[in-house]
Symmetry: D2
Subunit: 131 residues, 4 copies
């Protein structure tokens, strides 16, 4: 594993499986959002606080490569790094099968902050959430 700014351990829940017995592709977006929000809370600025402050982070672009499926009983390590590029926060998010060390999913998620209904320049978020 590379160096990551943040890692969260998440257990697969059986309702997240689809009829083939593998985690449905949409759930990885849920895992990764949950990981980003946990990261923000660890940095001292929770998602609830952001919303209260009128800063609404939304996904602008998502790229995911699905490399190896997760199954019932699996535990994952959900890891992230983040860089700011102007108004965009680029999260590089990798999910590993904890038991095997295998890379299950590799993603790049671009987040922008909506303020007053418009995409902001991200400066306020950058002050409140140094990354």
């Amino acid at each position: 594993m590379n160096k990551y700014q943040f890692t969260l351990e998440i257990a697969v829940r059986d309702y997240e499986l689809d009829a083939e017995g593998i985690v449905n592709n949409a759930n990885y977006l849920h895992y990764m959002e949950h990981t980003r929000h946990a990261f923000c809370r660890r940095q001292g600025y929770s998602f609830a606080q952001m919303t209260a402050d009128g800063i609404v982070p939304v996904a602008r672009r998502v790229e995911i490569d699905y490399l190896a499926p997760l199954h019932s009983g699996d535990v994952m390590l959900s890891c992230l790094n983040v860089v700011r590029k102007g108004p965009r926060y680029i999260f590089m998010q990798d999910i590993f099968n904890q038991a095997t060390g295998q890379l299950a999913v590799k993603a790049q998620i671009t987040i922008v902050a909506i303020e007053n209904g418009k995409i902001s320049r991200g400066d306020r978020l950058a002050r409140l959430l140094p990354v």
Copy 2:
């Protein structure tokens, strides 16, 4: 808190909130299923193994009282007791807000085991999963 056979700590995930900022009612069924499956694994007989053995536990009846909503950032203690009544496994499941100790949800979930497409008498499950 009463005595429980099993307790699982679960963090609210923000995508589980609905537009009012409280956990959507359906997600409690997910939390409680996840808790039952974790309980079975702890007892030594995982859900994946059950299915492989041709035993498919399904919900037959659900009663839930919603007493206090959970919000972003909350952590819950999801607790259960279970008794067998013939073919039926009755799970008494309570969910507490960990920080406040407040009871959020109180439920009774009746599970039956499907074997060969029919509700079984539950004897095989009872041997494999003593409760």
Copy 3:
């Protein structure tokens, strides 16, 4: 089928199945909420409008009997009747397999309206949403 105040046709989506190939129990709460909200919109008072008016309907109690599972490709008829009992709105909700006419799920959902953070007497909702 009995007489119902409202019926909505809903197609099963494959991601709603679980590893056994049947619709996961929690999704029926989603189907039934979606049906209630479509009913309110048909009555001329949408959920979005309610929230904007400071009336937040929440589930207080749920009872569901699961009678026959739904599978991939199934279409359901999701039907409801509703009566008001003081602050409580009692929804009787039945879901039928459209192709077979078989009753899949029978439920009673008790909704109360939160106004200013407390359970209201429901009078305002009753004026705006005659049932």
Copy 4:
């Protein structure tokens, strides 16, 4: 709107909103999967039949641009085109707000077929599901 091989009308369900009142990003993967499965059924080869035949389509790569959020009460037109490139089926999937005609989401989803636990060359699927 361009020409599409298939279009499905889908209504937003309120539980798909997140706390900001917009459809959560992961749900678009659900909408698009549901659209692909409806397309396959229309072409005469359902997902259930595929699985019964030992062909399991899985997502290999996903790219999504989120252009305009969907809200409570919105209805979308979920459109697709598909081309085969060797083992890969590339779905170009666009989702429009039906009322405004605005493009909400633009995506490219790469699907491969798993047969006997391995990525197949896709020839069997190509015979059964001409695209």
